[in-house]
Structures are given as structure tokens and as C-alpha cells.
């Protein structure tokens, strides 16, 4: 992940986002170059997926933690944002109840559950977007890494984690809208959510936060911390004999990554207009891993590329032949694993970064 590829990615992400926003807002609907609002929100959705992908790459590509439950952190951030958006509806719900969201009125609830308190405050909700996924990752990671759970076992328990959350959020009595989730949002920060300017603004904000995430991730992996992390990824036991505590390194990066995924989820929800338990589905987490594999694991930039390309493909394919999507995704994963172990980015940089031959005796001094 060279400085060049990061810079190019930042410029492309910001540039495309800004151009799309301008073409959406400045041109009238009929104009040839007008970008329709649904396309703006679609782009915003891809960018929030890219945030999830970068989070996955941070733990998988650089710490060797193959998390198959990262969508859980994404969804938790999404729910925290969704709860805020629900409170913003106010009396405009079907039942016109100022105190309770529609689904609670429907369930005959009389008062707001304690964990919904505070979510009418944007600042509190944003704090929860960071804290809830981060805290879950902290507890989960502390238990898992301290007991030296690694490899396949770790992957399996991350799947179990997201599956457990899926089942929990499906229940009506959990107070998160059950099967239907949270939807029918009206405003965000007291601005109408469906206005074109809000949509473009959200998409550009997602682009900016994705870039910030990339910069933070790049700082982390190129710091001395990141060098230790890569050493832990490849030869964990060796780092212990040098006096490092791999569990502390993994825990930090796992929590950071969960928070990043949560921010992605929080940006996703206002742009797609709904969050439901389906977002916890184990398949979502696996898909995120596939995006990273397709783009190129351990490159950060590849994660963005993979997330955008695969989801673009998904949009097109599910429009034309929806039943084929899962097969196509599976086939894509097998193809990448077998033919392109470095992903698309690996293919692009193969010529430049060809590993030196292991007969160095004759190599000239630099």
C-alpha cells in the first residue's frame, strides 16, 4: 500500500463524490449529465460498504484475524444511527405518538425502554455509534485473544457472534423493531432526509470519512505498531519471545476496526433508509471478506476497490438475475482464491513487487 496508491484512491473517492454531488444538485433533472438522486445514494451505500471493507482488511490483512462477524459492528453502528433517526420522526409516525416509535405503539408498550433514552440527542447517538461496536469488540476480543483463540476457531466464534445478534434483533421484545427493523425515517439533524441536498451531502460525508478512515488505517499499519502487528500476523509466537504481547496488539486493532465498521454502518442507514436484523446475517460478514479478497488483502486500497466493484456487480446482477447472485459471489471467491491470491491490486503490482529470488549471495550491494 504505497503512498501513491493511497493518494490516488483519496483523490478518486473525493473527486468522484464531489462531481456526482455537483451534477446532481446543479443540473436540472432532464439534463444529459444530471446524476439522479438514487444513484447518489447508491454511491453512498457503496462507500459505506467500503468503510466496512477497510475495517475488515485492517484486522484480516494486517493482524491475521479473519473476522467473519464484522458486519455485526457495521449493523450495531447502523442501529445506533437508526434509533436517532427514529426519534427524529417525532409525531409524524403513523400513530402520531410523540413519545414512542410506531413499532412500540403497535406492541402496546407504554413507555420508552431505558436503552432508548438519549437517542433523541444527535451527539449522544453519534457517541453510541462509536461506543457500542467498540465496547463489544473490546469484550469479545479481550476474551478471545487472551485465551489465544486464533485461526479457524476465531473465525467460527465471530460468525457465532453475529448470528447470535441476528437472532436477538429479530425478537420483537428486544425493542429494536424486530423483523422490520427501523425505517420510515424523516429527518436527520432536523434536515429532511429525502431532500437531494441531504442525499448528496451524506454521500460526500461518507466519502470524506472513508478517506479519513484510510488515512488512520494507513498510519496505524505503517507505524512501529503496524510493524509489530504484521510480525504478529506471520509469527505470533516469535513476537512473544521478543517481549511483545500479541493479544494487546490484536485487541487494539480489533476495537479500532469495529469502531470504523460502526461508522460505516451509521452512514449506511440514512442513505438506504432502513436497518433490519438481516444486516447481522453471517452471509453479510462473509461478503465483506470477499470484497477484501477480490480487491487485495492487506492493501487497504484494495478493500475500497473490491467493495465498490463487487457491490456494483451485485446491483447489476440482482437487477437482472437475482437468483444468480450468491452463485456468482461464490464463484468469484473461488476464482480469486485460486487465480488471484493478491486480488486485483496484487495483479496490478505484480510486476513491480515481484519477490526477489532467494539466492542472494550474488546480489550486488545497494
Amino acid at each position: 500500500m504505497s503512498r501513491l496508491s493511497i493518494s490516488v484512491t483519496l483523490a478518486l473517492v473525493l473527486g468522484i463524490a464531489l462531481v456526482m454531488a455537483v451534477l446532481n444538485l446543479a443540473l436540472p433533472e432532464g439534463a444529459a449529465l444530471h446524476v439522479p438522486t438514487y444513484a447518489v445514494s447508491l454511491a453512498g451505500k457503496y462507500l459505506s460498504y467500503a468503510m466496512l471493507a477497510v475495517a475488515v482488511d485492517l484486522v484480516w490483512g494486517f493482524a491475521g484475524i479473519l473476522s467473519l462477524g464484522h458486519a455485526a459492528f457495521f449493523a450495531l453502528g447502523g442501529y445506533a444511527m437508526g434509533m436517532y433517526l427514529m426519534r427524529q420522526i417525532g409525531t409524524r409516525g403513523v400513530y402520531g405518538n410523540a413519545l414512542l416509535p410506531d413499532f412500540m405503539v403497535f406492541l402496546n408498550w407504554k413507555s420508552l425502554p431505558w436503552y432508548w433514552h438519549g437517542f433523541d440527542n444527535a451527539g449522544f447517538a453519534i457517541l453510541m455509534v462509536l461506543v457500542v461496536p467498540g465496547l463489544l469488540a473490546l469484550v469479545f476480543g479481550w476474551l478471545a485473544f487472551r485465551s489465544r483463540v486464533t485461526g479457524v476457531y476465531l473465525s467460527i466464534i465471530t460468525q457465532a457472534l453475529t448470528y447470535a445478534l441476528l437472532l436477538a434483533f429479530f425478537r420483537n421484545d428486544m425493542g429494536f423493531g424486530g423483523n422490520n427493523g427501523l425505517t420510515d425515517f424523516k429527518d436527520m439533524f432536523a434536515i429532511p432526509l429525502h431532500a437531494d441536498a441531504t442525499r448528496s451531502g451524506l454521500m460526500v460525508a461518507t466519502a470524506v470519512l472513508l478517506c479519513a478512515e484510510l488515512l488512520v488505517a494507513r498510519y496505524v499499519v505503517t507505524s512501529r505498531f503496524g510493524k509489530v502487528l504484521i510480525a504478529v500476523r506471520d509469527t505470533e509466537s516469535r513476537t512473544r519471545f521478543l517481549g511483545y504481547r500479541p493479544e494487546a496488539y490484536k485487541l487494539f486493532v480489533f476495537v479500532l476496526s469495529a469502531v470504523m465498521a460502526g461508522i460505516g454502518g451509521a452512514l449506511y442507514v440514512p442513505q438506504v433508509g432502513i436497518i433490519n436484523p438481516g444486516e447481522f446475517s453471517p452471509a453479510n460478514s462473509i461478503e465483506a471478506v470477499i470484497w477484501v479478497a477480490v480487491g487485495g488483502r492487506g492493501t487497504l486500497v484494495g478493500a475500497v476497490l473490491g467493495a465498490v466493484l463487487v457491490n456494483f456487480g451485485k446491483t447489476i446482477l440482482t437487477g437482472a438475475l437475482p437468483e444468480l447472485w450468491l452463485f456468482a459471489l461464490g464463484a468469484l471467491f473461488i476464482l480469486v482464491t485460486l487465480l488471484l491470491p493478491g486480488g486485483i491490486l496484487g495483479l496490478l503490482s505484480r510486476r513491480r513487487a515481484r519477490p526477489a529470488p532467494t539466492t542472494p549471495a550474488t546480489e550486488p550491494a545497494e
Partner: protein
């Protein structure tokens, strides 16, 4: 020899794997500043002994006392490393994707906590130390190369360099000359003698010529206990040692 001069006291250590005794009431005393060679046939328990000292394996019984009164069997690997015990593995293990320079940087003695490494900047002092070690291990021109691309012998040296960077009081070196040419072997013996001027060393090695070149006290392990101890001439004249080596 008074207790004060003892750096490491392995006291009656027994390790069993599924009923098989890899170490059998092993006892061994190492003085401060001493270099000791440990030899023994395959499976004698040499590597297991290092595993116990460095906290990788917990013994079923026995103690390992380091310095005045630290029982190593109660500590884990990072704690033991922080006490000043460094280890070179039988199979060279360096951080392959990192440069030679970064391998040494990560090994340099210093704060190991994430909150430090996250913000750490390479200091001039660190650069000097790394440059010094690069000279010692003869890898100065290879400083920017990926460690994974080094030859086997160079990796062995890099690992010794990483040990030096840790500035340990005690170095445990498992088969440092395996796979080296004669010239490299000779240079390694010289390097270890140089290191021994300031630090204590335990070397496990099969190469008798190398052990002879070191010219230090030799401990012969067999089936998890000490079979014989003394100068290289003494142990090679010991009929029990001869039997173990010839009879296998």
C-alpha cells in the same frame, strides 16, 4: 561458586508429553558471564529445556531460578523476555516481510506496549544501535532487504542480531550453525565469543568442531537429563557419552 554468581539455576525440571519424559529431573547451573555448550543426540531435550526457560513450556515439576530469586516457571514469554532472556530458534525465525533494518528495530530493547509503538519515531540513538549491530552481524549492505529473501546463514545471523538488539543478560542459542558453510561457522563461533564478553550464553549445537572451537564447558544431555559435564575433551572421553553417540 557462591549463589551470587549464579545466573540461571535449572532445578530438577521434568516435562512430560503424553507420558513421554522429554526432560527428566534436569538440573543445570549457569554462572554469570559464562558460555555453556549443550550437546546431545536428537530428542535429548535440548530445545525443550529452552522452551522451559523461556516460558513456552511449563514443567510438571521443578524450578528455574533466574538471577537471585525469580522463578521463571511462573512467568510467561513476554515477561521472561523483559527480564533479559533472549532466544534464537533452531529454525531461523525472522519477520520475513520486514526489512533487515525493521527486524532489528522491532527487537531493540524498549517499550513494547501498543500505546508506545503507535507513536514511536525512530531515534538517532536507535539508528546508531542498529547500525552497530548490522556491522557486528555483517549484514550492513543488506539493511534494506526483505528478511525473507536472505540466505539461510544470513537469517541465522539476523536472528543473532535481533538477540543482541534485545540486550539480554542471557542468550539461548539453538543450533546457530545448522546449514552454514565452514567459513560462516567459524565466523559465528567468533561472534558468540565476542557476545560472551558482556553476556551469558547457552548454545545448543550438534556440530562438534564448532563446540570445540568455542572452547567452553560442555553439558551433554541424554533422555532429558545431564549425562556428563566438563571440558570438550573430558566429555568426549566419557564412555557413557561415547556409547550414547555411537550406540544410536
Amino acid at each position: 561458586m557462591s549463589l551470587r554468581d549464579t545466573l540461571l539455576y535449572v532445578d530438577g525440571v521434568t516435562v512430560t508429553f503424553d507420558g513421554f519424559r522429554a526432560l527428566n529431573a534436569l538440573s543445570l547451573v549457569l554462572e554469570k558471564g559464562e558460555m555453556r555448550a549443550v550437546i546431545g543426540p536428537n530428542g535429548a531435550g535440548k530445545t525443550t529445556m529452552m522452551d522451559v526457560i523461556t516460558g513456552k513450556t511449563r514443567p510438571d515439576s521443578g524450578q528455574v531460578v533466574f538471577g537471585a530469586d525469580t522463578d521463571l516457571t511462573r512467568l510467561d514469554e513476554p515477561d521472561i523476555a523483559a527480564l533479559g532472556i533472549g532466544r534464537k530458534f533452531q529454525k531461523p525465525t525472522v519477520f520475513e516481510p520486514h526489512s533487515v533494518w525493521d527486524n532489528l528495530l522491532l527487537a531493540l530493547a524498549g517499550d513494547r506496549r501498543p500505546r508506545f509503538t503507535l507513536w514511536a519515531r525512530e531515534t538517532a540513538e536507535e539508528r546508531d544501535q542498529i547500525s552497530g549491530i548490522l556491522q557486528t552481524i555483517r549484514l550492513a549492505e543488506h539493511r534494506h532487504r526483505r528478511a525473507g529473501d536472505l540466505s539461510h546463514g544470513q537469517k541465522q545471523w539476523l536472528e543473532i542480531g535481533m538477540l543482541l538488539a534485545q540486550k539480554p543478560q542471557l542468550l539461548l542459542v539453538d543450533e546457530p550453525v545448522a546449514g552454514m558453510t565452514d567459513a560462516e561457522t567459524e565466523q559465528t563461533a567468533e561472534l558468540l565469543r565476542e557476545i560472551n564478553r558482556t553476556r551469558s550464553v547457552v548454545v545448543v549445537e550438534h556440530d562438534m568442531a564448532f563446540v570445540r572451537a568455542l572452547g567452553v564447558k560442555v553439558t551433554v544431555l541424554h533422555e532429558g537429563s545431564v549425562l556428563s559435564e566438563g571440558s570438550i575433551d573430558h566429555v568426549s572421553d566419557d564412555p557413557r557419552v561415547v556409547e550414547v553417540y555411537l550406540g544410536r
